[in-house]
């Protein structure tokens, strides 16, 4: 029997190139642009698009590590609570007299620590799935945030802090530049390093990876810690945008983030998907929401549309498999 050879790199072909999931997203983005532009005269305006981008990019920071997590076949639903806890800690410390720079450092540290705790729990208690572990920490982190601020808001940050959420470098939103840097870094980590290959390997078969000498536990801890760190980055930008923090900040972000990753073509079964897809999905959902907001679609209808979009995203790969079972051969 011939041993099956799995090529390190897939061969480039026109067919493969054209039929990538990401093109579908590009097409969808173009459709969204065309429709929005025809429905609202205000959509195709550089200033408006730029400001809309500032509005939805805050959660995009979490999308980057979430791609890693879902690629490994795991999930992290505590990210929004980490955002809340790190943001509330920062606001609380600042209002108790800590200099803002230090408070921001603490914010990042708290997020990173929360992520590390998630990772350690998942690695130590292998019989528990990551959904259960992060469900528990989701409640705990949000709970601590409520204990710290007791349903009050804290804020009155220095003027310069607003820069993160509201200002431009040249004519480009600061948040977009930061996101671009992080996106390139995470894309490189996933697609160009051994670390990234191991993430894919774990997603395809964690047990086999373990026996092949992949340090599964270490990688999981690193990835979850990264998710915690990026949640804290989101917390910085979101808090700067809000001008104050309260324990219910970022409610529902975890689901939006996961939706973006899944729409980006990352399989929840693990092992399949690419960074660029998730990033495209961020912009797709962002501009779709903004465009629908411009024509004042009610919040309920908007949720239904996003839900339908997600179902399409999950259903289409299945359709493909059903119709062309020859793919694997």
């Amino acid at each position: 029997m011939e041993p099956r050879v799995i090529p390190n790199k897939q061969e480039w072909s026109w067919r493969g190139f054209v039929l990538q999931w990401e093109w579908l997203l590009v097409v969808l983005i173009l459709i969204v642009f065309a429709l929005n532009a025809s429905l609202s005269e205000f959509f195709l305006d550089y200033g408006n698009l730029r400001d809309a981008t500032m509005g939805f990019l805050d959660k995009a920071f979490i999308v980057l590590p979430m791609v890693f997590i879902i690629l490994m076949g795991d999930i992290d639903i505590s990210v929004a609570s980490i955002v809340a806890l790190s943001s509330v800690t920062m606001a609380d410390l600042y209002s108790h007299g800590m200099p803002m720079e230090w408070a921001m450092m603490v914010c990042l540290a708290v997020g990173t620590a929360c992520g590390w705790i998630n990772g350690m729990l998942i690695v130590k208690f292998k019989e528990l799935s990551s959904v259960i572990v992060t469900l528990a920490t989701m409640i705990i982190y949000r709970g601590i945030a409520y204990i710290l601020l007791e349903d009050q808001a804290a804020g009155k940050f220095p003027k310069w802090f607003k820069f993160l959420g509201w200002d431009y470098v040249g004519n480009i939103p600061f948040i977009l530049l930061v996101f671009a840097v992080f996106a390139v870094a995470f894309g490189w980590l996933l697609h160009k390093t051994a670390f990234g290959r191991k993430v894919y390997a774990i997603g395809n078969n964690a047990t086999a990876s373990r026996y092949s000498g992949v340090e599964v536990d270490r990688i999981k801890v690193v990835v979850f810690t990264l998710a915690g760190f990026m949640s804290a980055v989101t917390a910085l930008f979101l808090t700067a945008r809000m001008g104050s923090s309260r324990p219910n900040i970022a409610t529902g972000y975890e689901l939006e983030v996961i939706a973006m990753v899944v729409l980006g073509g990352v399989s929840t079964a693990g092992g399949k998907g690419r960074m660029i897809g998730a990033i495209l999905a961020v912009f797709l959902i962002g501009y779709l929401r903004y465009g629908l907001g411009l024509i004042n679609v009610s919040a309920q209808s908007l949720l239904i549309i996003l839900g339908l979009l997600l179902i399409f995203a999950v259903a289409i790969p299945r359709l493909k498999l059903l119709r062309s079972p020859v793919r694997k051969a």
Partner: protein, 371 residues
């Protein structure tokens, strides 16, 4: 491979129909006929979309656009408020845009403010989910020339031109005394069941009640006690029971708090004191319906959310026209509500709705399902 292209095509078509469909539904919700006209014109205008500064903003013949953002969707109280706002805006010939996020959070409201800035609306009225968090967004709106006001739940003074307050404390206090006096026939002992002893709202109202009682026509009415139920159901119940025990001749109870009035209603019902001890105050129609229907509480008061929205609509119009800038002492004529004056409120200014709204057996069935 054709199949796959087919699938993609299929999705594209589905997306198109979907979006077209929601475009329509958005219009009909957004503000009936006027907005439909406005939006259906836009495709033709979009040919020159890049020059989007041109139309609406500079007056001309175009309709002014007035937006209102409530705290979240699915809140009947908020929907009544938006209904009133829309009515006022239609009366002044503007286009009303009604918005509310799916989550009652400030970040969702910030996003909506951004969308409204992009649409170059003329005015934004907001019932805030957070008094401070909206400041950067609302300042951006004001810098873009949009007139910002808050209603129901205020934003801080720096984020608004003026706030529309539900009810005037003086009117609440005086009306409650007038009401109880009518119920008990102008003579007898009365007591007040309040919230906590430090509650600012209640204390202001009680001050005004006492001032109203100084009027000689109430000489036969005696206020025997102000009790504090701390806005806790069980404490309010036991305080009511204590009042009834200590003052056997008590003729009336005023509870200027929704928790207190419901607790008192329960006690009076359980003890069979209907008709012997009268009850009025500020209550939620949904909680008080059974006591009003049974006659334990003949009538009570609260503000009318429709009027709060309606007044805000006229205030928004005044701000846009420039007849109102939000300075103390300015006056505005708000449709059927008549003339209102801008007064000081902490660092900022506000406009009071005025008389609290009366709920009795004739209208409670209609309102109990509202809020």
């Amino acid at each position: 491979m054709k199949k796959k292209h087919g699938v993609i095509g299929l999705i594209a078509v589905m997306m198109l129909t979907l979006l077209a469909a929601c475009g329509k539904s958005g219009n009909s919700e957004g503000g009936a006929s006027p907005s439909q006209a406005a939006v259906s014109e836009s495709p033709s205008a979009s040919a020159s979309a890049s020059s989007s500064e041109s139309p609406s903003g500079n007056g001309g013949g175009a309709k002014k656009k007035f937006a209102i953002i409530f705290k979240n969707t699915g809140n009947p109280y908020g929907e009544k408020m938006m209904e009133g706002f829309k009515k006022a805006i239609e009366e002044v010939g503007g286009e009303a845009i009604l918005k509310a996020p799916d989550q009652p959070t400030a970040e969702a409201q910030i996003q909506m403010i951004e969308e409204l800035i992009s649409q170059k609306v003329d005015s934004i009225a907001i019932a805030a989910n957070d008094p401070d968090a909206l400041q950067p967004a609302l300042e951006k709106a004001m810098n873009a020339g949009i007139k910002v006001l808050s209603l129901d739940s205020a934003v801080n003074a720096a984020s608004r031109l003026v706030h529309v307050n539900q009810a005037d404390p003086e009117r609440i206090g005086r009306t409650l005394i007038q009401g109880v006096s009518e119920m008990i026939g102008g003579e007898g002992e009365i007591a007040i069941l309040s919230a906590t002893s430090q509650a600012t709202n209640q204390n202001t109202w009680i001050e005004w009640m006492k001032k109203e009682l100084e009027d000689p026509k109430y000489s036969k009415i005696k206020l025997v006690k102000v009790a504090y139920g701390d806005d806790l159901r069980d404490k309010s119940v036991s305080e009511t029971e204590a009042l009834l025990k200590s003052y056997p001749n008590l003729k009336g109870i005023i509870a200027p708090t929704t928790v207190g009035i419901a607790a008192a209603g329960k006690v009076l019902t359980d003890k069979g004191l209907k008709g012997k001890v009268q009850l009025t105050g500020l209550g939620l129609p949904s909680e008080m319906a059974e006591y009003i229907e049974s006659g334990v509480c003949q009538w009570m008061y609260l503000w009318n959310p429709i009027d709060v929205g309606y007044l805000s609509g006229y205030v928004a119009d005044g701000l846009v026209k420039g007849t109102l800038t939000g300075k103390v002492g300015e006056k505005i004529t708000a449709g059927t509500l008549g003339e209102k004056v801008v007064v000081q409120d902490g660092d900022g200014t506000q406009i009071m709705l005025g008389d609290p709204f009366k709920f009795d057996a004739s209208n409670i069935t209609e309102w109990k399902s509202v809020y």
